[in-house]
Symmetry: D2
Subunit: 284 residues, 4 copies
């Protein structure tokens, strides 16, 4: 894996942005390995992701911001620079169902996910052996209704102590408080076991079964203060038939959940996602 940097840009659309950015990178010796851009014609917005090898790049990470400032100001850019060498630190939250957790840990272990998983947080102890197998510290926080605020305070302390960049709710069955969510904007990814916005809320497979749908789905999204309403990152569906009873829906759904959550995590840690409004741009 080459040592690369990623620049993510989000600004009003106007002429000359690509010319300006690519000229800037060229002048500083960047060897571009991927570049992708997107224009929202309706909202007149411009989005860009460019990744380059650092070998011959003449700017240090510290020197980048001052050097890039003139361009960023001229085009009113929101931007950020991510270094592949700086791996994001993840905490995985889990309850009892551990298929998403097992899937993420395996992918991480086999180098599919470019991050450091440094904590598994559970409101039950079921997943502890799995975390131990992958040598990730397991933290148990019982979340009883009366003590939810207290538990969250302890969790937040842990997250700060571990300098967590991204929280992944791997079928974590507790609703996070607005206070919690507001501390990690666009840095909490959840998997919802339906094709949102169908079947918001509890027991979506039961809802789907009752309605007699012919496909079931799963959705990964950033968590916002409104339940199941955050920007969607990835969705997938699979066919069911009248032969599929509830346990079959649950089983088929697990495949979808693993797929949409692991893709969302991969895209996030590779800095491939830009959020605007309730939407995401995925530079895959």
């Amino acid at each position: 894996m080459a040592d690369t940097a990623v620049l993510l840009i989000d600004c009003p659309d106007q002429r000359g942005i690509v010319a300006g950015v690519s000229d800037f990178l060229y002048r500083h010796g960047a060897n571009i390995v991927h570049a992708d851009q997107h224009q929202d014609a309706e909202l007149k917005l411009f989005f860009m992701r460019v990744e380059w090898e650092l070998t011959d790049f003449t700017l240090t990470p510290e020197a980048f911001a001052p050097a890039f400032a003139e361009l960023a100001t001229r085009f009113a850019m929101k931007w950020r620079l991510e270094l592949a060498a700086r791996r994001p630190r993840l905490a995985l939250f889990v309850s009892k169902y551990d298929h998403c957790l097992a899937d993420l840990l395996y992918r991480w272990h086999s180098d599919e996910l470019r991050c450091d998983i440094v904590a598994v947080v559970g409101n039950h102890r079921d997943a502890e052996p799995l975390a131990q197998f992958y040598k990730v510290p397991f933290h148990h926080f019982a979340v009883e209704a009366a003590k939810r605020a207290e538990a969250e305070t302890a969790e937040l302390a842990l997250l700060r102590r571990e300098r967590i960049d991204l929280i992944v709710l791997a079928r974590y069955m507790q609703v996070l408080s607005p206070r919690f969510v507001s501390e990690y904007p666009q840095r909490i990814i959840n998997v919802h076991h339906s094709f949102l916005p169908a079947f918001i809320g509890a027991r979506p497979y039961h809802q789907a079964f009752e309605r007699g749908v012919k496909l079931i789905g799963a959705t990964s999204h950033y968590v916002t203060e409104q339940l199941d309403d955050g920007p969607i990152i990835e969705q997938s569906t699979t066919r069911i038939s009248h032969r599929d009873q509830l346990p079959d829906l649950l089983q088929k759904g697990r495949e979808l959940e693993k797929a949409v959550l692991s893709r969302a995590v991969r895209w996030h840690v590779e800095s491939r996602i830009l959020v605007y409004g309730k939407k995401t741009v995925i530079f895959d």
Copy 2:
């Protein structure tokens, strides 16, 4: 195509149904070519579809009911017998978008749909040349708000005159009145351009675009008096990305609409659908 009969059965589940039915058919010389059954374990219901060649069958269609009566009574069956030789008569309803109409007419013309399409009904005249090309009479009924009831009365008269068995709403943009719907229970098929129950009602692609979903869908269903709430027959989804603007959604959606509507029509005319409650069993 062999000359076959189809028997559809819907009854409380209990032992001996298959033994009874298969023995009955065997004794009367039926050469079974397909048989399929389904049990709803929760509701304790039994569904069966059996198709056989009529060559050596010893019962005439008229003699079937009296001969089958004892068995039907013993198991409290709802049943019906369909003869492949008796092709259902269809009316297709259309507004301006004619992609579903063109698709259905082509499939019918190339013998993919075992039915007779005997009328195309439009509230606009745009689809008239297409109907004419396939030599199907076109009927124009302007559906102005003030005269909707009047138009429906005229339409119903046409449908009765033409002895229509199935009405297909091929992107027909008018909402049918409860009176109209009640005359053709489980005999009106609609295509809704979303993955129901997401995005019920008007402009679903616009709703999907606003929400930032990563898949769009389409649904074919029987029409009931409640909008977009009837038993779902078929659904399909396709992937979209941030690159897809509204016109792209419309284009990709058309493919889904054609697919789910044509499959629903095919299954209906081949007597492959059993409705129970809000659900369908598809014997495909």
Copy 3:
């Protein structure tokens, strides 16, 4: 999970088979929970799978064969009876890539696969910790070219000692000898990492990359003496684009391999597969 029996039948097609079998089961108190059948019209063959609860069934497993003999003889049936209570014993073979192994062990551990995994066999030691985590004995057999026959002899001894019913090659990179294969006819399942019959043999993803295909696939199949030529059980494909380099193909391929192999194993252990000639009937 109810205590059930499965009867699988394969015979020349003729009238009266279903009537005979369902009457037989009815007379002995079987409460049928699933029944499915298939006719190959061209080859005039009949296939059936019927599953019933044993609660009120009046025949013991030992008494079944004599009681069923008359019917079996009359219709020239090949048949077998499988009891859900008798879980098949599996050995998983693996080399270095362990994604399929990890996937199968997790599914088994979470009760998705109705079998006993009693041995993991590796020609490398990489997968040993994973086997240990799931408490399955790991057996290492170095398969050097000069000593292949010797290694196979030792493996066969282990398989006999453990009374193995099914061998699963979970990305096992050794070709089994005809002698080995002949001892487990239709009882060795392999996953090939291409959409067979495209890209038979070594390095199929490299072949696919060179050819510039737009989809890659994976195939699970029973192993026969001819390489990659056995009856296909399951296949799946996924989209790739010019952006996907070889490592991307390998990664996307792993998802397919896990899916097609785990489905094949599930169908086999649930007695849902009938092989005839080079084809399979899957009663799913």
Copy 4:
């Protein structure tokens, strides 16, 4: 639809290409609406497609080449400029199966394909009424074995007279001679009714049926002198089961053929395809 130009570039990869091209376009007032690029890391090749609105662009089509020459030479570019206003002229070739023809004509008629279809060529007369309905001249050339060369000569004369840019073989069942193919390099698109490279040659659905595959496919590709071996543009697969007999494969296959052929034609006429070696880059 805005009046746009598309520039397609294919050259050795090196630093500064994007900076050079985007600066060039910026200086001449181009309002870029889409830009996409691809690097083949292994072969060290660079590919780019950029589309801009012509409203404020300061170069006429005639002036573009001289102005762009310095840049093109510096980077050893192969390039071409396509104007949306200049719609490519298409000839569709057909035999008896007309589902792809009907599909393409309908899409063209409903403005989904940005081209002019100016001729339908058939070696049978079956498709003539369909061509007439869409007001496209139909040309019949009987292709008897003895007179194939003669027929091709007449066809080539027609193609030249009609200034055809792209030939689409819409299930045209004749093999074109090398002479014919060599006159339209990368300008003949065929649909093959299998997932290439599986089942090359005649009767692929029969081959698939014999092999017992669980998916069937279709492939659109540019025609080269070697049968079914040209650069693949698009592929798709669909699931089949043991229940599907040959007519079912043919029916399901038709859906795939329509999909992969119509996408290939759309991408070609929108200048979204770059061919290199046996591969294609699709800028979609």
